[in-house]
Symmetry: C2
Subunit: 262 residues, 2 copies
DNA sequence: ACGCATTTGTTCGTATGTATT
DNA sequence: TAATACATACGAACAAATGCG
């Protein structure tokens, strides 16, 4: 991998990679710059919510043109890792201090019913334990590794709507307690960012329909057997590293999961 | 709306819009070009699967630089309306002849079970009828307007998995019959493109969990009361015009609805 | 209130690289 | 090999939004 800072291209559009090798590991300059920016994000050089250096500064730093930096930043912004604001700068994406809370929550409320009342969070449990086999598998842990297990309920307009069971690799979240979760104002991923330095940048969800069992029914205040949406989310940080497994059960009598296709 | 072909910008970056009006209807050049390309797509000047003119040709036609055309095309490609292929050209997106069939179907199969067997479609019904009130509302029709109602079942590896009820504005789909649907090889939206000139470019889905009633249970071969995924899709053509309402019920015992968050 | 500096956004032009036919 | 088309990269200038003095 030819570092751009090592081999500044000569005035014209000279190729950057070693021309000897015919193919396997070539990538355009802007992709290399993108990787370097990503590395700085991952290393914590710039923190969530902060501005990164201006395009001109980055161009000088990497010894490339502003346009090349621009294309790299464009892609990172398209992936929601960066946020561009004209006249102000380019900022590291964050789950905290965001206009719309819950960047990853795709729940919307029925128009016929409640006009988005307040949202409360209720933490039922937060304990350290050995990873269950299935959890360990998807989080790429060994079975004996410890995880933090969290159970919580989200209420909208006073009604329980979401029951979440969450598993996190314990080493990354030392000191996480129900108290800290309850005290924190704002989304859980915001807490993870600021207190534990773990940034969720992407997630995959698998959605199914299931029946409420007795326990779940009591927590969500529905009749046993009520159909619920099962949302299994695997969330990733930089480098496609899975750092959270979340199994959610959603009441969909007054809410629905919205999705856009294109 | 200042047409770019009317007022070619002077050598430097001169403003294009009438400077008298202080605000409401200004847009960057590339956005105007994007609108013009969109108009040509909508008018059918280029058909799905076909190549549009080269960037250089478009630049000459609209009297702008290649870079400006490029930015317009980039956005249309990002919205999946166009498809760029290096060395070959830029093509109008299509639902037919696509590597992955069913561009809009987010169903994936459990790894533990079947290795993606063949998919069969079974059309149970296709009739013309007055639009039900709720259907008319979301399709922006008057209650007396006619719609085509289609009911079908999708089978994967021989098992019924999806039951779809579909409503289409009848005037746009004259001559649509169960026979034509059955005969056509490939996705339904491919048929709509080639036979009726209706192109689905975007859709919104609302997902809930529901119980199978007697009728549905029989069709999907599950026990009554089985939880099913309810997927209500509203599909749009150019200009954000809704042209299809689809209510799907998915068995999620061997499949799941997958979604990516970022 | 005004203007200035900073930063991203837009637009042009040119040249070269890579993929396809 | 040559022609064509998209992809990358540079440079330059001006526009628009923001914040500060």
């Amino acid at each position: 991998m030819t570092a751009a800072s090592e081999t500044p291209p000569a005035g014209s559009g000279a190729p950057v990679s070693a021309p000897a090798l015919n193919a396997p590991s070539f990538s355009p300059l802007y992709q290399q710059i993108k990787t370097l920016i990503l590395r700085s994000l991952q290393s914590g050089e710039w923190r969530p919510g902060e501005a990164i250096p201006s395009e001109i500064d980055l161009a000088a730093r990497f010894k490339v043109s502003q346009g090349t930096v621009r294309k790299a930043v464009d892609e990172l912004a398209a992936e929601n890792l960066l946020l561009r604001r004209q006249g102000k700068g380019t900022f590291v994406a964050t789950h905290a201090e965001e206009q719309v809370q819950y960047r990853f929550l795709r729940l919307a409320s029925d128009p016929s019913t409640t006009a988005q009342g307040s949202t409360q969070r209720e933490f039922l449990d937060c304990r350290r334990m050995p990873a269950p086999a299935d959890v360990a598998a998807v989080l790429q842990l060994r079975p004996e590794d410890a995880v933090v297990e969290v159970r919580r309920v989200l209420h909208f307009s006073g009604q329980p709507v979401v029951l979440d069971d969450i598993w996190l690799p314990a080493p990354l979240f030392k000191g996480l307690t129900a108290e800290r979760l309850s005290e924190y104002r704002g989304p859980m991923y915001g807490l993870f960012e600021s207190e534990f330095g773990v940034r969720m940048i992407r997630a995959e969800e698998k959605i199914r329909a299931v029946s409420a069992d007795e326990t779940v029914a009591a927590l969500l205040k529905v009749a046993p057997g009520t159909p619920l949406l099962s949302v299994e989310r695997l969330a990733f940080t930089y480098g496609d590293q899975p750092v959270e497994l979340r199994r959610g059960l959603y009441r969909t009598d007054r809410h629905y999961y919205r999705n856009e296709l294109s």
